[in-house]
Subunit: 572 residues, 2 copies
């Protein structure tokens, strides 16, 4: 069976047979959808092929087979790759024929009720006909995550417009033991925002009003279904910006960003959502509306409950409104690209950057020689600097063009004078900045020309940031085509890549579980920013102790005693 891809620009399967879970033929046409992160890949294996993202690597073998046939793709049909700001949007196609019960056979449906006519009647009375989707084809798009890693078979999608409606829905579901899957823009990478079985999907798309933008304090208050890019556009008119930026910004909802504690491209500079979210409103499983929608910077009256809803991926409540502290829009941008002789020098340079660039440092990205080799080799990009074992990309964002340029120049001067940096270039020209960023962003898609790539997205203490690459070079050696590392030094977030000619169980066993154990021993994180969702609960113990997981379960129990909210997700 062949799968053809005409065009990639957004993930909209044009034709998937609605009548069967395992259709016999496909013509899938996709449009490009930006990823919020670099880790989605297109991989072309030597013979039969897989197209899959790093996120679903563990199921790669499964993906290669459909109903006993291999999906075949020639090199010619390899989909085009389009670079994005901080990564590569990869291509994949309608994998929706893999129902979770096939791939995740260990997961059993919970003891929940099944949606019946009287339930639908209640929802229609509450929301009207148009905001209750209850036939298979209408529900289809809501049942599949956009990387097609999980597909449920929900027969009921609800689109509330207010927290009050969400409240009545949840109270009803709780009473009738109906499982619920909260869903925002459905851009997550761990299957957290789609049904696993037949959960009722509560989609926030129609809760999309901006309630206020305070130009003076910089506080934005809006409903959870607002699309991140829409907020960014509205704020820009007032010289403000969102404190977070993601590749998925054109689709993702702010409520989902908060529920997943989305990281993104501005974290080094503007911090995480636990710092910038001033308040929120969320509905608990029993329908209770938790009004925590403070717009205050200081409020020490009792436990700080809002944080329970930030990053718990919809398992403790559905976020319905948010208040966010927005920084002023920067007026100046500078990018430099540096060559260094050792990882120790990279660290010294980072220290110097923190000191000299101080408040304007916005990115500090590492690229090792074998990573740069990917983009100069396969993509034919030109690097302004060559022949170093390490390269660093430094970006500044500030409020004054001349000052920022001056700071950057002084930083470079000192870095070169002390010898930690041997060569470097700097620019504030838009095209040149983009060209430098491409050296970082296109590594991911270039790597796939090596063969099969084992990819890991890890947070590690900064001193041990690169050690894991060296470690694997010792462990795997020449059995790999390439073992390289690149990533956000500033955030301690490395992308470890081990490419081989062909996937083998033997290589996998030499990598896992060692990579997780090693990360765990260094107190690192096995999921830096994508969360746990449906696909990673079994890895949580590598980054969280049993006590912590037990406390999470205790909290789940009191906030959602019937377990109706996003079951099968997050908690192991």
């Amino acid at each position: 069976m062949d799968v053809k891809i005409d065009m990639i620009s957004k993930i909209v399967p044009r034709e998937i047979s609605p009548s069967s879970d395992v259709p016999s033929s496909y013509l899938v046409t996709c449009d490009l959808q930006y990823l919020e992160y670099v880790e989605l890949d297109v991989l072309l294996a030597p013979n039969a092929c897989d197209i899959f993202s790093d996120r679903i690597r563990h199921n790669a073998e499964g993906f290669a087979k459909v109903g006993g046939d291999s999906i075949r793709l020639s090199r010619d049909t390899l989909p085009p790759i389009q670079t994005v700001r901080d990564g590569v949007a990869g291509a994949y196609q309608g994998r929706s024929w893999f129902l979770p019960q096939d791939r995740y056979s260990h997961v059993k449906r919970g003891n929940f009720a099944t949606v019946e006519h009287n339930h639908l009647k209640f929802f229609r009375d509450l929301l009207g006909e148009n905001r209750v989707l209850a036939n298979s084809s209408d529900c289809q798009a809501y049942n599949v995550d956009w990387i097609r890693s999980v597909r449920g078979y929900s027969q009921c999608v609800l689109k509330p417009k207010t927290a009050q409606e969400v409240s009545e829905i949840l109270a009803f579901c709780d009473k009738h033991r109906l499982a619920v899957c909260p869903q925002g823009g459905n851009t997550g990478l761990v299957g957290g925002s789609v049904a696993v079985f037949d959960e009722i999907i509560v989609n926030t798309a129609l809760m999309n009003k901006i309630l206020s933008i305070d130009e003076i304090s910089g506080v934005l208050v809006c409903e959870a279904g607002c699309v991140l890019e829409t907020l960014e556009d509205q704020l820009a008119e007032k010289d403000l910006m969102m404190p977070l930026d993601l590749g998925a910004k054109g689709s993702c909802h702010i409520g989902g960003n908060i529920s997943t504690n989305a990281g993104g491209l501005r974290l080094l500079r503007y911090g995480n959502l636990h710092g910038s979210v001033l308040g929120l409103e969320a509905v608990k499983a029993n329908g209770e509306i938790m009004d925590l929608l403070s717009t205050l910077k200081k409020d020490n009256t009792g436990f700080h409950l809002k944080h329970l809803f930030i990053g718990s991926e919809g398992t403790l409540g559905i976020v319905t409104k948010v208040a966010i502290q927005c920084p002023p829009k920067p007026k100046a941008l500078n990018v430099s690209f540096l060559g260094l002789q050792s990882f120790e020098n990279v660290l010294e340079t980072f220290k110097l950057a923190r000191k000299e660039l101080g408040e304007i440092l916005s990115s500090f990205e590492l690229i090792d020689a074998l990573s740069l080799d990917v983009v100069t080799g396969y993509h034919g990009l030109k690097s302004p600097i060559t022949d170093y074992p390490f390269y660093v990309l430094v970006e500044t964002q500030g409020s004054n063009v001349a000052h920022d340029e001056d700071k950057m120049n002084k930083f470079l001067e000192m870095a070169m004078k002390t010898g930690v940096v041997e060569d470097g270039t700097v620019t504030n020209e838009d095209s040149k900045m983009k060209a430098i960023w491409a050296l970082r962003e296109r590594i991911t898609d270039g790597l796939l020309y090596d063969g099969y790539v084992f990819k890991y997205d890890l947070s590690l203490p900064i001193k041990q940031f690169y050690g894991i690459v060296t470690e694997f070079r010792e462990r795997i050696g020449k059995d790999a085509v390439r073992i390289c590392g690149y990533g956000h030094v500033g955030d301690g977030n490395i992308h470890l890549n081990i490419s081989v000619k062909e996937f083998t169980q033997d290589i996998l066993k030499r990598i896992e579980p060692f990579v997780y154990e090693h990360t765990s021993q260094l107190r690192g994180s096995v999921s830096a920013e994508h969360g746990i969702g449906f696909r990673k609960p079994k890895y949580m113990h590598y980054s969280k102790t049993e006590s912590a997981i037990n406390l999470m379960k205790d909290i789940k129990r009191i906030m959602d005693p019937n377990g109706i909210l996003n079951p099968y997700k997050v908690l192991p």
Copy 2:
């Protein structure tokens, strides 16, 4: 009965009768202790006198009487006031004769066990003789908060050195139903860190090791009993600083800062502790050690539990270790002082400051005319600018002296050109900056010359920031000596002051509960940064909904089912 004060420089009562709760005479000599906040006042009432802080204003009448006698102080014995960085360290003296059961008679001792010999034996076996204090005079200092607002009668103070010891203590106490009061530097202002009755005090003073300072990432890891100033000093050697700064930094423990979500002077610039604390270790009531001591910026593996311990004031666990992201130490400081015609112009100026000063803006403080009048009148300070209804103090902290000066000048130029600011002065000379800060810092202690001052520390939405002052001018009018407002515009935190010649119930009734209701209606906070502790649970409902309070109680129940941790505190 007279109370004499020889010297104020630290709060160490030299002589308080150890044998009686109501001694008949006093000679109290104090050393100055910096406050972490402006709100502690010395008040000289016209006849009999009170010396009290705003924090205990509600009990002011009680303080005026000791055993039927008024405490008398002539103007001459009014203690000297010493200004501190962001406020005034006030004086007070041995009020330890007011046991909580006198002043807080509505609070009843919980059904806890009483410390017995076999309990003490267990503690001595665990910690040794020296780290178990068990006689009245040894325990005395630990039983009283430093503003003498609450005094317990604990007969057992424990000084563990490790989390393991804390764990064994709590497991034992939980098993034997012994109530526990966690205590850090005991610098809180709401009575949260002292025993109310006979709770066992677990003091963190000996858990004071700095475990690591990573110069590259700026991550500090240390034990909970480290004094903030010690950390600041150690970090300074590595060109780093703590992301928070408090007046109480010479005494307060970082564990207490985190447990109370301390705000302080750098919040506008460096954000709150929910953003800068990367991880922590805490011991639950049952002795379970929660290892959440991540040093990572990105870790989305499950619920973000650390936030439960930030700001819950020791009621959910005892923080034993912390990991904090520390910013680089600034190299440049600038201060300007501006005159403005309206509060609207203040807001416009704040907006302009956010835009032009951007990343280097570190303080934006409002002083209204009647507030400035206090320091120029009573204290004889000279203001560089006069005859405006509103004044603003703007401070910058940055990494480049010339750039910051340039930005500040450009900001001032634009502010004057558009007319929002009518007059202004700017300086980076240390003595001049201090002189300008004194205009802001000395308002609090100057106000007491008016008579009796009703003081409120509120967070309000920025647009309604000053409205409450106008509101009270209409409500109280000429019955007050002065109704003024000043505070942190940048953080939405105003200090409302209503001074009268003499305290009367009538005036009180015209102020309260209106001031709380008004704050509540505007979704403000009735405790901006000091927390709830022992003294404010009854006000929590003005800033938190019933649902939120119920969820707090649910969480308390699962994390401390026997309620042994800091009873009588926080939860209403």
